[in-house]
């Protein structure tokens, strides 16, 4: 490549970054203004969707960037949630510290798990992640003295969080700006990680682990670290869920929770950063709309199968294809 072309490419990447950042700020602000437009019930749904979207994104990012398909991510979501519950009940540390600690606990736990299971590629990883998820679920139902067993935890938050009464986060009007900003920050984080050297290296390992090893790169630790990052974000989502519902029970850790988030991520599109959230919005709306019927699992599973067969990239891919089709038509019309 000659220097001019290289310079042009540099400029275009720079302008992409600026464009994406500008879009990001606009969307963030537009989202924060949402309570002006919609009612409390819709806002409640939005909070749910943002929490689920964050969780789904953590799973989608992991599989897209590293090829590691986790069927047990609810473990990290739940470990953080229970950490918040236990720390707020047992100590009087400020909530913000508690949440930071909970995310950290999730990350440390994931590090230990990752050391054992990140060695295994593909199929084995999927099976092992599911088993670990079930193990954590079994532990939460059995350890009555710590987790209150299947009854779950009603948490009484005290003090303030980000300038507001901590208990008031049950109200979606209070929690929405925080939850929404968290989701947007996570998206930005993943976007930058994907563009970083670390992100590129993860993709290279995913594509051909042997080649990377022979080229002198470490392949094991980056995978473990990617797993830890993903679990920490899952933990953050778990904290959001506990904060906005002030309740946690082993149901939050069950296979269904992991599976739901994974399905939502696939529906929206694993390969994109916005996709999982779109999937989450669709799911939450669908669930609200079908509240009377018990068929949503059927619809979710069916939709999942159709998407995997027909459009493995999920809705994000469908939209992308449509956009490029329209663009091509337009260009053709201009010529």
């Amino acid at each position: 490549m000659n220097t001019k072309a290289a310079e042009k490419k540099m400029r275009s990447t720079k302008s992409t970054v600026l464009l994406v950042m500008a879009c990001w700020v606009v969307v963030l602000l537009a989202g924060i203004a949402l309570p002006q437009v919609v009612g409390t019930y819709q806002l409640q749904l939005a909070v749910q969707a943002a929490t689920l979207g964050t969780f789904a994104l953590s799973i989608a990012w992991l599989v897209n960037q590293t090829g590691m398909l986790s069927f047990g991510h609810a473990a990290y979501y739940g470990v953080a949630g229970y950490s918040v519950a236990i720390l707020t009940t047992e100590t009087d540390v400020p909530l913000i510290v508690v949440i930071a600690a909970a995310v950290l606990i999730s990350a440390v736990f994931a590090f230990v798990v990752g050391l054992v299971i990140a060695k295994s590629p593909g199929v084995a990883f999927a099976m092992l992640s599911l088993s670990i998820g079930m193990l954590v679920w079994v532990a939460t139902t059995k350890l009555d003295s710590v987790t209150h067993g299947t009854d779950g935890f009603n948490i009484v938050f005290e003090g303030s969080f980000l300038g507001k009464d901590a208990m008031s986060y049950i109200n979606p009007v209070t929690s929405w700006p925080v939850v929404w900003s968290a989701l947007m920050l996570v998206m930005a984080l993943f976007w930058f990680v994907n563009r970083s050297v670390f992100g590129r290296r993860l993709v290279a390992v995913r594509e051909n682990e042997e080649r990377m090893r022979f080229s002198g790169y470490r392949t094991y630790m980056p995978r473990v670290l990617a797993f830890v990052l993903s679990a920490a974000i899952a933990g953050l989502a778990g904290c959001m869920a506990v904060l906005t519902s002030s309740y946690i029970s082993p149901d939050n850790l069950s296979f269904h929770v992991s599976g739901l988030a994974l399905s939502v991520a696939i529906l929206g599109g694993i390969g994109s950063i916005v996709g999982p959230s779109v999937g989450a919005i669709i799911f939450v709306l669908l669930q609200a709309y079908l509240s009377g019927s018990s068929n949503y699992e059927f619809i979710l599973g069916g939709a999942l199968m159709v998407v995997i067969i027909a459009a493995p990239g999920g809705l994000a891919e469908i939209v992308k294809k449509l956009v490029s089709l329209v663009m091509r038509r337009r260009r053709a019309a201009h010529v």
Binding site: S131, I132, V138, M305
Partner: protein, 282 residues
Amino acid sequence: MVIVLNGMAFGVLLLVLSTGLALIFGLRGVINFAHGAIYMVAAYIGLTISTEANYWVALVGVPVIFGLIGLVADRWGLRYLTEREPMEIMLLTFGLTFVLSNVVTKFWGTQPRTLEPPSVLDGTIEIFGVAYPTYRYFLIAVGLLIAAGLIVWLRRSKTGLQVRAVSIDRSAAGVVGVNVDRVSATVVAMGLAMAGLAGVLAGPYLSLSPNMGVEILVLTFIVVVVGGLGSISGPMAAALILGMLNAVTAVHLPDISAYVPYALMLGILLFRPKGIAGTRSL
């Protein structure tokens, strides 16, 4: 004695299920996440058939039905998806899990149900002064027969040889004249038939609930990992070991018995990552 029999009974059930899973994995490189859900549906269909007709019809009929479904699913479904990533097929079976569990709650409700064994197998048999439910003897016998039959089939018959060949190298087997598609269809049908059989066998032994699929799925995964991916006899041995451990700890260490399968899995992963008889490393 009772502990050993209990261990055998549960181990044999795991054996029938996990062998089906391992067979399909060996051939298609895909783990069927819906295996547990299929087993659950089979148990419920078995329940309906045995209340409408009788248990023996269910015991024979359900595996046949599921075998046929497997044939059809392979011929008109999986065959077109061979070029897809194994991951996508796994997710496909995962979606199926949701659909099936919804079907079960829709038609049979969420209440736990029990399947009554036929009167011949109801009651107990006394051996060496220990009374033990007849049905569990039956379960152990059927399971071990199936296992033995399968091993003989894989080792001695021509189709068995072809199955092993395709498992080792799909394209090479095709080159030397094995009809890979037909072998695949046979194996998927066998795998599903075994899940069906396991469901009907489990009916009178465990209670039927919409969670039974997920619960046993995790155990079969552990069995397959411990036994070794890519092997059939490994998971068979692992299933019996796990069943035994389960029975022993349930009596002697009830507090930790729920964790034992996981501990076994982690131990294997740390000290022998290929599993007992695995051919490919994890």
